[in-house]
Every structure is written in C-alpha cells, then in structure tokens.
Symmetry: C2
Subunit: 220 residues, 2 copies
DNA sequence: GATTGTATTTCTGTATACAATTATAGGGGC
DNA sequence: GCCCCTATAATTGTATACAGAAATACAATC
C-alpha cells in the first residue's frame, strides 16, 4: 500500500525496497556492521554482497567521497569512525547549509514546489495525529528534500541529501519522547509559515531553532 | 628549486608535477576542455589518457561526488555546467564553512599547527613583497589548508579542500589588480591576528570579509 | 515525407585475468 | 630472544572479455 509518493518515486510504505550494493554497504557501515578503522577487503565484500570487485571498488570510491571510508593507495579501504565530537560538529555544518537552503528556497521556490511543500506538510500533520513515527521519519526527510530542491542549487542538494542518509540510520535506533512528533510538527510549521509569508529571515531563524533542537534531541 | 614545503609534501616550486588520471580529467573539466552537457564516453577517455576503462570509471565516480559530472545509469557520464548563479552560490556555501573552520580552528589549534600557520603567513609576507603572484596562489591555498586542518574535522577539511581545487583552475586565468597581493595580505593578517589573540569572533568576521572580497574580486 | 518497428552498432555494467604492491611467515645471524 | 632479510601469500591496481542496455540506422508502412 503506497501512502505517499514523492517526486522521485520514493514511497512512504512498509514494502521492502531493493537496494543497490552501494546503498547496502553504506547502510552496513552506518549501522555499525563494520567497526571504525576496520579494513574492508574487496574480496570479502564481493562474497558478502554477491558481486564482483568492479562494482565494489566503485562503491568504495563513492563512500570515500561521502567521508565514510578512507582509501589508501595500494593498501585498501578503511572504515572511518565518528566521535561524539564529529557527530556534534556535523550538526553545526548541516545547520549552516540548511539555513542557506531555506534562504535560497524562499527566494527561488516555484509554484509547483510550493504545492509539494504544502502537500508534504499536510501529510506531516496527518501522521502526527496518527502518531506514526516511522512514516513521519520518511516524511520529515521529504519535507527537507523539497526545500533542498527549491534552493535550486545542485551542490547544496547533494550535500544535504548525504547528511540525511547519515541521519536516517542514526535515527532508526532512537528512542523518542512522547511529545516528539508534536514538537517537530510545530518546528516545521514555523518553517512552512515563513515560506507562505516569503520571509527569509523568519525561515532562517525557524530552521536554526529546528536544527538546534534536533541536535539536543539526538546528542543531548 | 623547492621554496616552501607544506606538511603534505606539496611544494612551492616551478617543477612540473605528475598528475593522476583523475586529477587530469578534473583539470580538463574545470578548465573547460570538455563543455557543459558534453557526454564523456569511456572509450574516448581511455584513448585520451592512455589507461583502461577501470580507472576511468572510478575517476568518473569521484568526479560525480565532487559535482563535476553526472552519471546516469546505462547512459554514461555528462559534464555539469556551472552558471554564474551557481558560481556565486558556491562562494556563499564556502563562506559558511570557512567561517565555521576558523571558529573551530581557533578553539582547537595545536602548537604545532600554530607554528605552521605563522610560518605560512611569513612566507605570504615575503612573496607579497616580491610581488610573485604564482607562488602566492599556492601559499594562499596553504594558509587556508592549515586552518582546515586545525579545525580538526575531516568532513570540513574534505569539503573545503574540494572548493580549493575548484578555485585553483578558475583563478589560473584571472587578471589581477595591481594592489591584489597587498590587499589579500592584510585580509589574511586580520585572520592570523585573530588566531594569536584566540579571538573566535574576530576570526569569523575577518574570514567573512575575506571571502566577500574574494567573491567581489572574482565575480564582480 | 513522416513514422514506427526492427536490426545493427555502440556503449555501459559486470566479471575475470593479470601485474604490481604490500603484508606475512619463516629462517638465519647476532 | 630479537632483528633483519627473503620467499611466499594475499591484496590492490589495471586491463580485458563478455553480457545487457541504449542509441543509431534503416527499411517498411502509412
């Protein structure tokens, strides 16, 4: 049963979705299946994921670009560890770009994107009422994604999307406060309102509060 | 003749440096040898760079991560174009991270890094007096690089370094004002002074001014 | 002449083979 | 026992071969 369909055909549903080898490897690193510092031997990965070395090597190159592994010449790929400090820093870096994204998005958003943002926000209200955390996590990501697109800047979209991937797995193991959904909804409402009012400053401030609180919720 | 040697063995000299296939391809895209939208056929690249498809494909994956090409499944790699807007946006994105880098660097810099920063700044003074623009471009990059390292955050280092690569080729064709070097030196001096004073706020402000002026110089 | 379906060619995606480098294990010297 | 050297094994880097998808060319049809 498809409940909500994003522009890119990502769906909010419970159906298992087939993943690329890259995505699987990414997931397994982010969920801690491989330990920080651990060497990723290509042959071993081939057997684990059932593909040959070529696609594995290309995946490792992309993971290096995402900062998840380090490729050392003639020595191979090693999993990069994230300290608590690294993780907190990540929120600061993300915050700077999320704020910039909101600013540009409010300047540059198209009517079609505004409709998608509104639609997505309405789904957030619906699933908050239903208290459905799993679906909310997906819609949350979608809400931010619409903003990234509305910023009309590829670089920003790429970077912020990769932060989302990072958070997706980190969040999956989280325990949530009882008022989590309603709190987040209000934070998003403030951001959405800034779009309606075309108020760049209010949008930036609402986003800053949102990320600061997200940091507290997840790091605090 | 080696004039200045960075920690990573990058040298300020006129000696030709051998480049990896990736670096060559990166250079050729950034210098406009391939036009935006142009399809990069693997076989053609193999013949041009004298290597087989495997390393070419891996290079294309990395270039995609850097935002220089777009890989479409079963259709190949296409060069991404940068509009004037994209280019101006890039300065804003870089500014946000350069400011964060300075803040963290002032908090976290080690004695060894502080010595390197001082040494680098002294070389900047020397080459400014000599009015040697080519060497200054390299030292400039080195000055920022020391700050990135002193931020002690891998993600930030990676991103800002890739911006530097971007700028390196863009700058190479630039025409400079006569007071370019002395102006830039004073901007860097303000940043360096903030490190000595351990004044985070002053450092952030000095860096913001520096990037704003760099944007004016290059986009204005 | 334009259009559509099909055959051919070209190109990408993946697997495998080979070369070069690095890691490992064992033996000799001190 | 410790260190160093060498031989071997393991692993990465590169080239090539093959399978499948996409683009192209062309002929048949309207």
């Amino acid at each position: 049963m498809v409940l909500y369909k994003f522009k890119d055909d990502t769906e909010v549903s419970n159906a298992p979705v087939s993943m690329s080898q890259l995505a699987k490897l990414q997931r397994d690193i982010l969920t801690g299946k491989f330990r920080p510092g651990e060497k990723l031997t290509e042959q071993a990965l081939c057997e684990q994921y059932g593909v040959s070395r070529t696609p594995i090597r290309e995946a490792l190159r992309q993971l290096e670009a995402d900062g998840l592994v380090e490729n050392i010449l003639n020595r191979g790929a090693f999993v990069i560890g994230m300290s608590q400090q690294d993780y907190e820093d990540m929120f600061e870096l993300r915050k700077a770009y999320e704020i910039q994204a909101v600013r540009w998005a409010i300047q540059r958003i198209t009517d079609e994107e505004m409709e998608r943002l509104e639609e997505t926000f309405e789904f957030m209200e619906f699933y908050t009422m239903r208290n459905d955390i799993d679906k909310m996590l997906v819609i949350n990501a979608g809400f931010h994604q619409v903003i990234y697109e509305a910023s009309h800047n590829r670089m920003l979209q790429r970077l912020l999307s990769s932060y989302q991937t990072f958070l997706k797995y980190r969040d999956s193991g989280m325990v949530y406060e009882s008022d989590y959904l309603t709190t987040v909804l209000e934070e998003h409402r403030a951001i959405f309102k800034a779009f309606i009012d075309r108020d760049e400053k209010a949008g930036a401030e609402a986003m800053e509060r949102h990320i600061n609180r997200a940091k507290e919720r997840r790091c605090g």
